[in-house]
Symmetry: none
Subunit: 123 residues, 4 copies
DNA sequence: GTGGTCTAGACCACT
DNA sequence: GTGGTCTAGACCACG
């Protein structure tokens, strides 16, 4: 999995955090699994340890990992996190639907377009 | 209508552009209507003329207004724009649905959450 | 007000954040007041801009200030914050009381000691 | 009793020391009782012997145990220790009360919140 | 001018 | 070895 895309306007640390969030939510990383050390991941991604640190700090704040002093960072997976993620995404979609509705586009019309796009992508 | 929200992480010029886009698409501004002059709008919003300039440039790029030398900027409204907007929104939703699906959240489960949020907001 | 104490084991950025939190909660800083710029505060405290940045980032996450791009950071004061703070402190005390109670020290005995210490400090 | 909590931000050696302090003060360990050897405890907790060593050193410094050369470490329990502990806790609470008072939260209001939290925890 | 991100390199406490 | 903090100095977008 590509973690960093320099074309992406988002800051690097956020891309790293996002990437790991997805891995954890998908189950690719399990509860208790050790994260790569800050320094080693930095070297792997050829980025700065501070940048990785910032990503890990964010993941910690959001409850995806817990640092153990002198030992490393460990994954914390839990169903609350998945639930929170679902609501996050649903919230973003709700905002879009709301906007479309303000413009006079009906829910049905919009979802039809969405399905069209998804089918096209599946080709 | 509030055009600028400083809590919003997006740059000011983008918020202004977005605001006018919506007004045009909703029909609040009609084809041919004159836009406020850069300076007057800047003063109304108590923001920097450079910022308004940037917003107008973006609107022009997207076809929402046409500048007339020595006279000012004028609204350009057309059905293509509405269609483009619908596809834009649908595209963003499709991306969200895709992400959710990657996480193992079904289309139905997700839309149920969305409807729940929308109903709550309608209280 | 002294913001930084190098004897304090807590990181500098946390001391800065704590200091401002107190100023805001005490009402010394009002809603909408501008914070000193990252660079200027760094220079005043003879510390590094990055350190101040980290403090401001934490204050932002906790809702005490909102950054405005190109303009600076501004104080956000609200009653929810005071309420949250009260509960935070009460929670810490509750934990101490619980611990004391586990050791067989009664609530009354403990609070008597507390009052004794407070009176002594008031001399 | 769980001695180590990796979520706890305090260093492991301090958590171990704290844990034993409580056991001694509660009377679970009596004066003269032998402490587990550094190596055996390290293995039980699957931690580093250096860490246990550091915990024992701290306990010795605070008078909770006395090392006997060639024999091991032995518990030292005494009423002075309990008294010291009470004052330690009372001191921490006094500091919290002081902070709250600086923020304009009255002693009564604060203790009401504390009692509320304690009652809730007792459910 | 502002905030925000990133790099390079150092230091510390903990295990 | 680990994570965490700090400094110095650079770059960018925004207003």
């Amino acid at each position: 999995m590509k973690l960093i895309d320099y074309q992406d306007p988002r800051p690097i640390y956020e891309q790293i955090a996002e990437g790991y969030k997805k891995m954890i939510l998908k189950g690719a990383l399990q509860d208790g699994d050790p994260m790569p050390s800050v320094r080693s991941l930095a070297s792997t991604l050829s980025t700065n340890p501070n940048t990785v640190q910032k990503a890990y700090a964010q993941l910690e704040r959001e409850g995806f990992l817990t640092p153990v002093k002198g030992k490393g960072n460990f994954v914390h997976a839990g169903n609350e996190l998945m639930e929170a993620r679902k609501n996050e995404i649903a919230g973003r979609i709700a905002k879009e639907v709301q906007e479309a509705s303000d413009l006079g586009i009906s829910r049905e019309e919009l979802f039809a377009s969405v399905d069209g796009i998804l089918k096209e992508g599946a080709k």
